[in-house]
C-alpha cells in the first residue's frame, strides 16, 4: 500500500466535499437536521391529555379520586359533565380525548370491598392516546384503592406491619420519567450517521457516471488505497457530527451524557468505519446514483430503522431478523450510545459491542475491496 496514493485520494475527496455544496450539506447538516426531525416526529412525549369526568357518585371518595387522577402533568380535567351524551359530544368534537366515568355506588362498593365501578371511555381512532389514558387512570386508581383500603384496615384495628402488603413499584432507572425521546435520541444517532455512508456510496457512483472513475482506474492506484482514501474523509466529517450531536441533544432535548466522551468518540469512529464499509459495498455493487440511493435505503436506513432495536425491541423479533441485526453496525452502536448517554457505563461493559464493530469494519471493507475491480462493465 502506498501512503502517497492514499494521501492523494484523501486530499482530492476532502476538496470535493468542501467545494461541492450538496455533498457538504448532506454530510454536515443533514445528520443533525434529521435527528431533530425524527426526534420530534417519532418520539412525541404524551402530556396534558384533556379528559372529561362523569361522576355519578359525588362522594368525598370519588372527589379525591378525580383530584388524584388529574393533578399531575399527564391528564387534565377539561370539564365535568352530567351525562354520557355530553361525553359523546365532547369526544366527537375533539375537545377531550377520553372520559372517566365513576359509577353511582363507587364509595359504597369500595368500602365494602365489592369492587370498583369505574369506566374509561376512549376515542378508538386514537388508540395510542386512549391507551395512555387507560394506563394512567388505571395506575392512579389502583394506588388510590390501595391507600383507601389500607386506611380501612387500620381503622378496623389491624396493624399495617402485620399485613405486609405487596408494594410493587416500577422504578425506571436512567430515564425516570420514561420519556421516549430520552431513550430514542441516542439510538437515532446511529441512524443519522448513515448519511455519510450514503454519500460515500453516492460518490463512487458519481465518479462512475461522470467518467472520472475510468481515468483513475488506468492509474497504478491500488484498490485498498482508493477505497480507504474515499472512506477516511467521510469518517472525519462523520466525527464532526459526533461532536455536535451530543451538544445539540443536551441543549434541545435535555438528554444527559453520562459516559466518557473520548470513549464515545473512539467507538463512534469505529461505527463510522463500519457503516461507511456498508456504503462502500453499496457503491461497489451499483452503477448509477439512483441505484446507489435506493440500495442505501435498503441496506443502511431500512435495517437501521427496523433491525437495530431503536424502535422495535430486538428480543421480540423473529430469529432470522435477530441474527441479521447482529450484522448491522447500528445494532451495536445503539447499545453503545444508549449506554454512554444514559447509564454512563464504560468499556468494561461495552467491549463486546466494540469488538463486533471492529469485526464489521473489517468485514464490510474487505467485501468492498474484494468485489471492487479495476475494470469497467
Amino acid at each position: 500500500m502506498s501512503l502517497r496514493h492514499l494521501r492523494a485520494i484523501v486530499r482530492k475527496e476532502v476538496q470535493h466535499i468542501m467545494r461541492d455544496r450538496a455533498t457538504l450539506i448532506l454530510v454536515l447538516v443533514t445528520p443533525t437536521a434529521m435527528l431533530f426531525l425524527m426526534a420530534f416526529a417519532l418520539a412525541v412525549d404524551i402530556k396534558h391529555v384533556p379528559i372529561a369526568v362523569l361522576d355519578y357518585d359525588r362522594t368525598p371518595t370519588s372527589r379525591s379520586l378525580i383530584r388524584r387522577v388529574t393533578e399531575g402533568n399527564d391528564l387534565d380535567l377539561y370539564t365535568e359533565v352530567g351525562s354520557l351524551d355530553e361525553v359523546n359530544r365532547l369526544l366527537v368534537g375533539g375537545d377531550v380525548k377520553a372520559a372517566m366515568v365513576i359509577g353511582a355506588a363507587f364509595e359504597d362498593d369500595l368500602m365494602s370491598l365489592r369492587g370498583m365501578p369505574l369506566q374509561v371511555v376512549i376515542d378508538g381512532t386514537e388508540p395510542k392516546t386512549g391507551g395512555f389514558v387507560v394506563e394512567r387512570v388505571g395506575g392512579q386508581a389502583e394506588a388510590f384503592v390501595g391507600e383507601v383500603l389500607a386506611r380501612q384496615i387500620q381503622v378496623h384495628g389491624v396493624s399495617l406491619d402485620s399485613l405486609q402488603p405487596i408494594d410493587l413499584r416500577v422504578r425506571a432507572l436512567y430515564n425516570p420519567a420514561l420519556k421516549p425521546r430520552v431513550d430514542m435520541v441516542p439510538g437515532l444517532i446511529s441512524m443519522v450517521l448513515g448519511f455519510p455512508a450514503l454519500s460515500v456510496a453516492l460518490t463512487l457512483a458519481h465518479e462512475r457516471e461522470h467518467g472520472t472513475l475510468e481515468q483513475v482506474l488506468v492509474t497504478p492506484v491500488g484498490r485498498v488505497e482508493f477505497l480507504l482514501g474515499k472512506m477516511i474523509p467521510y469518517v472525519i466529517v462523520g466525527l464532526v457530527n459526533v461532536i455536535v450531536i451530543p451538544m445539540v441533544a443536551r441543549a434541545t432535548f435535555h438528554i444527559p451524557f453520562n459516559g466518557s466522551f473520548p470513549l464515545f468518540f473512539l467507538l463512534s469512529a469505529l461505527f463510522l468505519f463500519a457503516i461507511l464499509g456498508v456504503g462502500m459495498v453499496v457503491g461497489v455493487f451499483t452503477r448509477t446514483q439512483p441505484a446507489a440511493l435506493a440500495l442505501s435505503f435498503l441496506v443502511i436506513f431500512f435495517p437501521g430503522f427496523f433491525l437495530t432495536g431503536i424502535f422495535f425491541p430486538i428480543v421480540s423479533m423473529p430469529e432470522v431478523m435477530r441474527v441479521e441485526s447482529l450484522g448491522m453496525p447500528g445494532t451495536h452502536y445503539a447499545v453503545i450510545t444508549r449506554g454512554l448517554f444514559l447509564t454512563g457505563v464504560g468499556l468494561d461493559v461495552l467491549w463486546p459491542y466494540a469488538i463486533m464493530l471492529v469485526g464489521l469494519c473489517v468485514g464490510f471493507t474487505a467485501i468492498a475491496v474484494f468485489f471492487f475491480r479495476k475494470k469497467l462493465g
Binding site: 502506498s2 502517497r4 476538496q15 467545494r19 461522470h210 475510468e214 481515468q215 488506468v218 469497467l376 462493465g377
Partner: protein, 319 residues
C-alpha cells in the same frame, strides 16, 4: 523498422458484450513512434479496443502485449507505461487545473523533485499557465481537453491511447490539439488515437478502419486514398433523393455517396462524364446548382470501402 518489435501487438483480441461482439479477432501491430489513427463509424469498436488495451475491460479471448508486458496478466505494469484519455474524459471539476495535474502525478508516482518543473512544462505546453488556479469546471471545452491530455502525460508515458480527444471541440482548438500530438509524435511517443474526423486521420502515420468489430483496412493515408475506384465529381442539387436515384442510372457512374445536400459521384473518367452528367440533368429538367471535379478525401475512401464490404457480404448471404 524491420529490426524493432511492435510496442503494441494483439493476437485475435476479442471482446463480447452479451450478444454483441464489439471487437472481433483483432490482429494489430503498432510500432514504436507511430501515430496510429483508429477510425470507423459509431459502434465500430474503437472505444472497446482502446479500453481493452488500457486494461479497463476483461478480454473475452485472444491476447495482447504492450511495452513487452502481457495484457491479461500484467495489466498493472502496463498502466505505468501508458497514458489513456477516455472518450468522455472527465476531470475533477471541483479541483483546479494544478490540483488535477498533481492528483494524477501522485497516483503515477511522479518523482516529487521533478514534479514542479514538469507541471510548469505541461501547463505551458497546454497553454494553461494563466489558468492554473481555475477550477476545471470553469474551463472551456478545448481547455478541458488540453488539461486532460496534460494529465495523461504527467508520467511521461511511452504509449498514449486517446479516444476521440477532439470530439465536440471547436476547429481552432482541434488544430491546436493536433499540433501538440504532432510534437509528441516527433518526440517519439507512440500514439493511438481514435477519431471520427477524416481530416485528422490524414495526419496519422497509419490508419486502421474498424467496422463491426473488425479491422478492415490498415495502411498509411495515401494507400487508403489510392484504393478509391474512379474519379470524384461533386454535385449540388435541389432534390438529392431524386438526383441520386437518377445519377446512379447514368453510364460510367461507379458509386454515389450522399453528404447532405451534395452528392459525391465516382465515375470512371471525370473529364468525360462531367459534361455528360450536366447534359443529362438539363434534359431531365432537374436543377443542378453546381457540378465540379474534386479530390477524394479519406472520408470518401472509407465510405466507399465500407459500402463495398457491405455489398460483398450481402451477395455472400444471398448465394
Amino acid at each position: 523498422m524491420a529490426d524493432t518489435v511492435p510496442i503494441i501487438e494483439t493476437h485475435a483480441l476479442t471482446r463480447d458484450f452479451k450478444a454483441t461482439r464489439a471487437v472481433d479477432s483483432l490482429e494489430l501491430s503498432i510500432w514504436p513512434g507511430e501515430l496510429f489513427g483508429l477510425v470507423g463509424p459509431d459502434g465500430a469498436g474503437k472505444t472497446t479496443t482502446l479500453r481493452l488495451l488500457a486494461g479497463l475491460l476483461d478480454i473475452t479471448s485472444g491476447g495482447a502485449e504492450l511495452a513487452g508486458y502481457d495484457l491479461a496478466r500484467q495489466a498493472e505494469k502496463i498502466k505505468r507505461k501508458i497514458g489513456y484519455m477516455a472518450q468522455r474524459f472527465s476531470l475533477y471539476s471541483e479541483l483546479s487545473v494544478v490540483e488535477n495535474l498533481s492528483f494524477f502525478a501522485e497516483l503515477y508516482d511522479v518523482d516529487p523533485s521533478v514534479l514542479q518543473e514538469r507541471t510548469e512544462q505541461l501547463l505551458a505546453f497546454a497553454d494553461l499557465t494563466e489558468f492554473r488556479s481555475r477550477r476545471a469546471a470553469h474551463l472551456s471545452g478545448g481547455m478541458q481537453k488540453k488539461l486532460a491530455l496534460a494529465c495523461t502525460l504527467i508520467h511521461r508515458p511511452q504509449i498514449l491511447l486517446l479516444d476521440e480527444p477532439t470530439t465536440g471541440v471547436d476547429p481552432v482548438s482541434r488544430r491546436e490539439f493536433w499540433d501538440i500530438l504532432g510534437n509528441l509524435h516527433l518526440e517519439g511517443t507512440t500514439i493511438v488515437v481514435s477519431t471520427p474526423y477524416m481530416d485528422e486521420a490524414d495526419r496519422c502515420s497509419r490508419v486502421g478502419l474498424m467496422y463491426e468489430g473488425r479491422m478492415i483496412v490498415c495502411a498509411d493515408p495515401q494507400s487508403i486514398r489510392a484504393q478509391i475506384q474512379g474519379e470524384l465529381i461533386e454535385l449540388h442539387t435541389e432534390d438529392w433523393q431524386m438526383a441520386s436515384a437518377f445519377v446512379e442510372t447514368l453510364p460510367g457512374v461507379l458509386e454515389v455517396q450522399i453528404y447532405g445536400e451534395s452528392l459525391h459521384v465516382f465515375v470512371d473518367s471525370a473529364d468525360e462524364r462531367l459534361p455528360a452528367i450536366e447534359a443529362a440533368f438539363r434534359d431531365q429538367g432537374l436543377v443542378l446548382r453546381e457540378a465540379r471535379r474534386a479530390t477524394a478525401r479519406m472520408e470518401e475512401a472509407f465510405i466507399s470501402l465500407v459500402t463495398r464490404l457491405d455489398t460483398a457480404r450481402r451477395l455472400e448471404k444471398e448465394t
